[in-house]
C-alpha cells in the first residue's frame, strides 16, 4: 500500500486516540484540584472523598494519555523524517520545552500527589495537584504552539539553501495569533469533557439512589458549574477561532461550510450535499447572511469560496490542488458544532435543576444525560479532524506539502508502516477497552473504592 496513505492513517489514528485521553486529563486535573482546595479551605471531609474519587478516575486516564503521548513525540522522526529535518529548528523547540517544562513537572508531581496523601501537609498536598493541572495545561499550550506553526507559520525564515525553515523570532513564534485562539478552545474543551463525566457519573449515582447520594449531590453541583463554564467558554473561543481562521486559513472555513463560490453576504449551510469533483451543490439548505454574521458579527461581508481560493493559491504557490477533502471538513465541523450546542443546552439544564435544589432525575432523563457524556469526545475528535484535514494538502501551510514530509520509502518501508499501524490499532483498542472498563468500574463503585 501507498506509504503516504499509511503514514497519514497512522498519524491520524494515534493522534485522535491520544486526544481521547488528553481533554479528560486536562478537565479532571483542574476539577480534582478545585475539590481538594475546597477540602483544605473548609476541612469538610466530603470534599476530600470526592477529590480522591475524581483523582482516581483522572489517574486511570492519565496513564494512557502519557503512553500514547510518547508515541506522538517519536512518530515525527519515525514516519515523517523529512518533515522533522525541515522544521526541526522550529517545531522541535516547543516539543523540547513541553518535555522539559511541562511534562516533567506534571509527571513528577503526579507521583508525589498519589503517594503523598499521608506524608505531606494538606495545603502542600493540594498544591501538588495544582502543579499537575498547571503542567497539563502548559503541556497543551506548547503542543499547540507547535501545531499552530503548521497551521499558520510565523517567526521563521527560510535557510540560505531553502532546505529548511529556521526560527527567526522566538517571540513572534509563541505569540502566533493562531495559538492564542486555539489554546483557549482546546482548554475549554477539556473543561467540558471533565465536567460531563462528572455530571454523568454523579447522576448515575443519584438516579440509582446509591448510599452516597449526598456526596454525589455535591459532586453534581460542582460538575454542573464546571461543565457550563466550559461549554460557554468553548463556544466563545470557537467563535473567535473561526473568525481568526477566516484570515489565516480561509480555505479551511470554506471547506467546513462547503462554500464553493465567494459570497457577500454569505449564507450558512444547514445541510449541503455537494459534488467535490465539480465543486458545486447537489442539494443545499442555507440560512442567508448567517455566515457573514458569524464571520464579522454583522450581516454582511464577503466570505471567500473554494473556487476563488483555489485560483488565488494557484497564482501564489503554482499549479496544484489546494482543496482539502470538503466532505470531511464539512461533516467534522457539523459534528463539532452540533455536539457543542447539545452540550451547552444539557449542561444549562442540569445547572438550572441544581440551582433550584432539585436533584431528582427520572431514569429516562438521567439515562439521556449519562449518554451525553460521549458528546465531548465527538466534539474534540471532530474538531481535530477539521483542524488537521482542513490544512491539507499542506503539512506546514504554504511551506511544505504533506507528501514531502514523509520518511523516504527506502528507509521506512510500507511493510513497516503497515505492520506498525496494525499493531497500534490492536494495542490502542485493548488500552481503550481497559481504560473504559476501569473508569466505569470505579465510577460505579463509588467513593469508598478510592479510599
Amino acid at each position: 500500500m501507498d506509504t503516504l496513505f499509511l503514514a497519514r492513517a497512522q498519524f491520524a489514528f494515534t493522534a485522535v486516540f491520544h486526544f481521547f485521553f488528553i481533554p479528560l486529563t486536562l478537565g479532571l486535573s483542574i476539577f480534582t484540584a478545585i475539590l481538594e482546595t475546597a477540602w483544605v479551605k473548609t476541612g469538610n471531609e466530603r470534599y476530600k472523598q470526592l477529590a480522591r474519587f475524581w483523582g482516581n478516575l483522572f489517574l486511570i486516564n492519565f496513564a494512557v494519555g502519557v503512553v500514547t503521548g510518547i508515541v506522538m513525540e517519536f512518530q515525527f522522526g519515525m514516519n515523517w523524517s523529512e518533515y522533522s529535518r525541515f522544521v526541526g529548528d522550529i517545531f522541535g523547540v516547543p516539543l523540547a520545552i513541553e518535555a522539559l517544562l511541562a511534562f516533567s513537572v506534571e509527571a513528577t508531581f503526579i507521583g508525589i500527589w498519589l503517594f503523598g496523601w499521608n506524608r505531606l501537609p494538606k495545603a502542600l498536598h493540594a498544591a501538588t495537584i495544582w502543579i499537575v493541572a498547571l503542567g497539563s495545561t502548559l503541556s497543551a499550550f506548547w503542543i499547540l504552539v507547535a501545531n499552530s506553526f503548521m497551521q499558520y507559520p510565523v517567526g521563521y525564515k527560510m535557510a540560505a539553501d531553502s532546505s529548511r525553515a529556521e526560527m527567526a523570532d522566538f517571540f513572534a513564534f509563541i505569540f502566533n495569533p493562531h495559538v492564542w485562539k486555539q489554546f483557549p478552545h482546546v482548554l475549554a474543551g477539556g473543561v467540558v469533557t471533565g465536567g460531563f463525566l462528572v455530571i454523568a457519573v454523579s447522576i448515575w449515582h443519584l438516579v440509582r439512589a446509591t448510599t452516597e447520594r449526598e456526596a454525589f449531590k455535591t459532586s453534581l453541583k460542582f460538575g454542573a458549574f464546571y461543565a457550563v463554564t466550559g461549554a460557554i467558554l468553548v463556544t466563545l473561543a470557537g467563535h473567535a477561532q473561526m473568525q481568526d481562521l477566516l484570515k489565516t486559513q480561509p480555505m479551511k472555513v470554506a471547506a467546513a461550510e462547503a462554500l464553493w463560490e465567494s459570497e457577500n453576504p454569505a449564507s450558512f449551510s444547514l445541510l449541503t450535499i455537494g459534488d467535490e469533483r465539480e465543486l458545486r451543490d447537489i442539494f443545499a439548505i442555507r440560512i442567508p447572511r448567517l455566515l457573514s454574521f458569524l464571520a464579522y458579527d454583522r450581516f454582511e461581508g464577503e466570505v471567500k469560496g473554494i473556487r476563488e481560493l483555489q485560483k488565488t493559491y494557484e497564482t501564489k504557490y503554482g499549479p496544484g490542488n489546494y482543496i482539502p477533502s470538503v466532505v470531511t471538513a464539512y461533516w467534522s465541523f457539523r459534528f463539532m458544532v452540533g455536539a457543542g450546542t447539545v452540550m451547552l443546552m444539557t449542561s444549562l439544564f442540569v445547572l438550572y435543576r441544581v440551582v433550584k435544589g432539585n436533584y431528582t432525575f427520572s431514569s429516562r432523563v438521567g439515562t439521556l444525560i449519562i449518554w451525553s457524556s460521549i458528546l465531548p469526545w465527538i466534539a474534540n475528535s471532530s474538531g481535530w479532524i477539521l483542524a488537521e484535514m482542513g490544512r491539507q494538502p499542506w503539512l506546514v501551510f504554504g511551506l511544505l506539502k504533506t507528501e514531502e514530509g514523509l520518511s523516504p520509502a527506502s528507509v521506512v518501508s510500507s511493510t513497516e508502516l503497515m505492520l506498525s499501524l496494525g499493531v497500534f490499532i490492536v494495542i490502542y483498542g485493548v488500552l481503550t477497552f481497559t481504560d473504559v472498563y476501569l473508569l466505569r468500574k470505579y465510577a460505579i463503585a463509588g467513593l469508598d473504592s478510592s479510599e
Binding site: A96, L100, A107, E416, L438
Partner: protein
C-alpha cells in the same frame, strides 16, 4: 566551547540521567515476577518505584524532545532508520505504563498476574534495546550521503550491538535488585540481595564481552572509561559480601555513568557514525539546528532542568522510607 558541543553534552547528560533512573526501575520491573511469594509482596515491589517511574520516564521524553530541537538531523535519521527498534521500545513502554496503573485496579488475580508479566516484558525489552541502540550509535551503521539509514534490521542486530544489549539488560537488572535491597524489608529484601549476588557474574561478564567486541568487531578505541566501568562493577561483589548494598548500588550507578561517558566521548563530535564513509557520519554540526535556536534552547534548559532535578530530588526524599508489606500501598 560552541553551542553545538554544549547541546551534545546536554543530551548526553539527559541520556545518562535516564539510564541512572530508569535503569533501576527497568530492573525492578524485570525482577517483579520473581520477587514475591504472594500478591502483597509483589505489590510492595511495585510500590518501591511507584512514585518515581513516571518521573523517570520524563528523561526519555526530554532526551527525545531535546534531540528533535537541537539536532533534528540526528532525530530524523535515527528514528526513521532504527524504526523497528523504536517501535518495539514504544510498544513496551505503552504496555508497561498501562500495566503499572491498571494492575492494582483489577480485582481478578489472573489479570494481576498478567499485568506483572507485562511489566516484566515492558521493562526487559527497553533495557535490552537501549544497549543495542547506543552500541549502534558508535559502532557505525550504513548511513548514506544524505544522512539516511540504508541498512536493514539485521545490520542493527550485529554482534557488538547484541553484546551491548545484553550488558545493559543485565546491568539494569542488577541495579534494580540492589535498589530493591535498599527499598524493601523482610523476605523481599533477602531475596533481592540473593538475586543481586547471582546477577553479578553475568552482568560483569556481559560488560567484558561488550568491551571485547568493541575492540574486535568495530574500530572503536575504548580507552580507560570502559575499564573504570568494569572496575566499578567488580567492586559490587565485594560490597555485597560485606552486606553494603547501599555502596554497591552507588558503584553500579557509577558503572552506568562510566559506560554512558565511554559511549558519548567516543561518539563526539559525531552523533551517528556511518560505516559506509566516515565523511557521511552525522555530526553535531551537520545535524544541528541553527545557532539562534540552540541559544533559545540553552536559556530554556538552564532555567528548567535544575527545577525538575530539584523537584525529583524532593520526591525521592519524601518517599525515602523502605516499603514493606505492611506499608500503605498505592499501586
Amino acid at each position: 566551547m560552541d553551542l553545538h558541543s554544549i547541546w551534545f553534552i546536554f543530551i548526553a547528560l539527559l541520556f545518562t540521567i535516564l539510564f541512572l533512573l530508569e535503569g533501576f526501575d527497568f530492573g525492578t520491573g524485570i525482577l517483579l515476577p520473581f520477587m514475591g511469594s504472594d500478591d502483597r509482596e509483589r505489590r510492595s515491589v511495585i510500590n518501591t518505584i511507584g512514585p518515581f517511574w513516571l518521573g523517570n520516564e520524563v528523561w526519555l521524553v526530554s532526551a527525545g524532545g531535546a534531540m528533535f530541537a537541537a539536532f533534528p538531523g540526528w532525530y530524523a535519521s535515527l528514528l526513521s532508520g532504527f524504526y523497528p527498534l523504536f517501535l518495539l521500545m514504544l510498544l513496551s513502554l505503552i504496555f508497561r505504563g498501562a500495566a503499572f496503573e491498571f494492575r492494582s485496579k483489577f480485582s481478578n488475580p489472573a489479570l494481576k498476574r498478567v499485568s506483572e508479566w507485562i511489566i516484566f516484558g515492558g521493562s526487559l525489552v527497553p533495557a535490552l534495546l537501549w544497549g543495542v541502540i547506543l552500541s549502534n550509535f558508535i559502532g557505525g551503521v550504513p548511513v548514506d550521503a544524505s544522512g539516511n539509514y540504508t541498512g536493514a534490521l539485521s545490520n542493527l542486530l550485529n554482534p557488538f550491538a547484541l553484546a551491548g544489549g545484553a550488558a545493559s539488560a543485565l546491568t539494569f537488572t542488577l541495579y534494580g535488585a540492589l535498589f530493591l535491597s535498599l527499598k524493601t524489608s523482610g523476605s523481599v529484601k533477602e531475596r533481592a540481595v540473593g538475586i543481586a549476588k547471582k546477577l553479578w557474574a553475568p552482568a560483569t561478564l556481559s560488560l567484558m564481552v561488550c568491551i571485547a567486541c568493541s575492540v574486535t568487531v568495530t574500530s572503536i578505541k575504548p580507552g580507560i572509561l570502559p575499564l573504570l566501568s568494569l572496575l566499578s562493577l567488580a567492586a559490587v561483589l565485594l560490597l555485597l559480601q560485606k552486606n553494603r548494598s547501599g555502596v554497591a548500588f552507588i558503584m553500579t550507578a557509577l558503572a552506568i555513568i562510566f559506560s554512558a561517558l565511554a559511549i558519548f566521548t567516543n561518539l563526539y563530535p559525531r552523533v551517528l557514525v556511518s560505516n559506509l564513509n566516515p565523511a557521511w557520519s552525522l555530526t553535531i554540526y551537520n545535524a544541528s539546528s541553527s545557532e539562534y535556536t540552540l541559544g533559545i534552547l540553552t536559556v530554556v534548559a538552564l532555567i528548567f532542568t535544575p527545577l525538575v532535578i530539584i523537584a525529583q530530588c524532593w520526591s525521592y526524599w519524601v518517599f525515602r522510607e523502605r516499603v514493606s508489606t505492611d506499608s500503605e500501598l498505592e499501586y
